[in-house]
Subunit: 391 residues, 2 copies
Amino acid sequence: MPKFPEFADRLGQLRGSVFEKFLPKMREKGDALVKLHIGDSYLPPPYELPIHSQFLSEHPFFNRYCNTMGVQELREVLADKVSQDNQIPVDRDDVMMTCGASNALNVSMLSLVNPGEEVLVLTPCWPFFPGMVKVAGGKVVEAPVYMELYDNPELDLSAYLEKFITNKTVLLYLNTPNNPSGKVLREDHLAAVCDVVQRHNLWLVSDEAYDGMTFGENKHISIARMPGMFERTLSIFTFSKVYMFAGLRLGYIAAPNAILKHLNKMLVHQLYSPSTLAQQMMVAPVKTREDWHRDFVQHCYSLRDIFTQELQAPYHHPEGAYYLFFSVKDLLQGRDYWALIDECLEIGVSIAPGNDFGKGFEDYIRICFAGEPPERLEIAVKRLNDVLLGM
Amino acid sequence: MPKFPEFADRLGQLRGSVFEKFLPKMREKGDALVKLHIGDSYLPPPYELPIHSQFLSEHPFFNRYCNTMGVQELREVLADKVSQDNQIPVDRDDVMMTCGASNALNVSMLSLVNPGEEVLVLTPCWPFFPGMVKVAGGKVVEAPVYMELYDNPELDLSAYLEKFITNKTVLLYLNTPNNPSGKVLREDHLAAVCDVVQRHNLWLVSDEAYDGMTFGENKHISIARMPGMFERTLSIFTFSKVYMFAGLRLGYIAAPNAILKHLNKMLVHQLYSPSTLAQQMMVAPVKTREDWHRDFVQHCYSLRDIFTQELQAPYHHPEGAYYLFFSVKDLLQGRDYWALIDECLEIGVSIAPGNDFGKGFEDYIRICFAGEPPERLEIAVKRLNDVLLGM
């Protein structure tokens, strides 16, 4: 049973780069080395690209394979970002670029979970995560935590989680700020998670896709900054949410380099590396994040209010992320759940059904309040009220 | 034992999109539908990007999630390309975009191969492919074909391959034009492969990363265009080679939509989709490929000649791709193989060691002749000759 710090057996079947042992000599030779070992073309693409010529001339390797751990310049600014904003003690080797947070989560599951082992998934959770555990052959054990913490913030979370641990549990999956519930875990909640994870010697995967996306007094705390946690935590970030660039498919894992080196073998076998060009394009936005990122979070706060001021449903005020997640059980008035979803579509509003987010949420719906402009959200909330109130 | 047309068991554990059944209604509603079901932001990124403003305004969804099968406009031009250039009978639904050919191969293995099943890999082969089979729990069976066909082009390939088939074989992996050997299979060779694959009811994965990259009279023939093959073949292409854009990490699979729909469940669990922006950027280059792609192939032909005219080693003239692959056994003169590789580095040339490409190639080396400009290749071949001739 591989628990921390052991990896999944399948990783042992993958070879790392044969060039690893030659790297010092290759670095020493520098530009004098004629590189015939990589299958790549030395010329830039001969067709026109919609990219500023100055950027291309400043990044002559934009079209070529990059280091499979990521573009060095971006890893460096992200290491600074994670150190400063998240207070996780990383240096530049402790960052590995991935094709979105999705890819980071998938690489993590295949690298850490053996068939038959259990992954404790705090729910409601992002719908694709349980499938990733299953692809690795693992068993998903769901612990319904986030909605419970709205109702009962003083819950003894350590004792509560303890009930779900077995001798097959190898990893805990945490996601705060949480999609879909909007819950942001407090420091004492995170301390309870640390307690369980350390006591049972589990790996921790901390999905921080909504890093920075919190409202009012709620603050996101990265669990890897807590005592004894960095060494066993994969902290996973993305450019899809606060950076508003889901279409770039870029994310990263912050963790000790000794762990990332192992995970990199799996990444290389999935897609070699994420896009060189995409990584080069994100260096400046990371550096300038202080100039722009608060405006978007503040704007989402106001989008949230469009819903919370009008919606006729028993919701909790989201503390972070950009979703409302609530049960419609008491609003069905004899209607079938799926008939209600269909009524929403019929009146012109699409929502995400609750059963994708875990067991026990079959009568919930999730609303994203960041994907449409304010004037359309206002229309949507009126339409939703009509359906929910059966008008 | 899942042979064609059965998929790997693990696919059965993954759910497709819950929106599948609602799609007709969602399409019918069009722009009137307020979309609250996707976790995405409606605003463009607030930071500067090095992309032409006209392109961005013509592609307002550049930063957002795309259809997980790919950007429709690109799938359409690629379907035209595959129909015309490769003569594979596809329509636009028969193309799925991936994060490079690597990702396409990995998704294919996880979707088609169960633990314990055998994959027949024609060697020498691309070094990462065997690892992908292993991650799926499959067993790699190597058939050393490509170098054999240089020595013996009239080989009875069907009978030769037959020896490697067992009752556990589920899939054959073909790669022509071949990396690393530069071998391009003739139509009669491909007919022999078809014969074996159809007789044993195998899946066929046709890695066509070097599509279009052939020299002189050698022509690349896509095996999926041969009788009875389209239905069981995944034809895999990339933008990394002839498009000279490995740093974009974009590729695609051409296959019947009914198969791709299943593979898409695996892709979504690996990385959701490849980059929206990357896909949008490649529409024009695919449309204009006739204007530019022959120049690069012709240029590679001349780069090849720099090596073949000077190299003092027992190589075969590559028929396609951009590599030379040959044994240095008779040039070792008592030296250890790895000492020779180290000598090459010491004198300023990096080459890829043969053992990464399959069993029996431990004393081979691979040279890429497209990754450095002509003047540096000329230096490299002189340096290599010095090492190989022990001067």
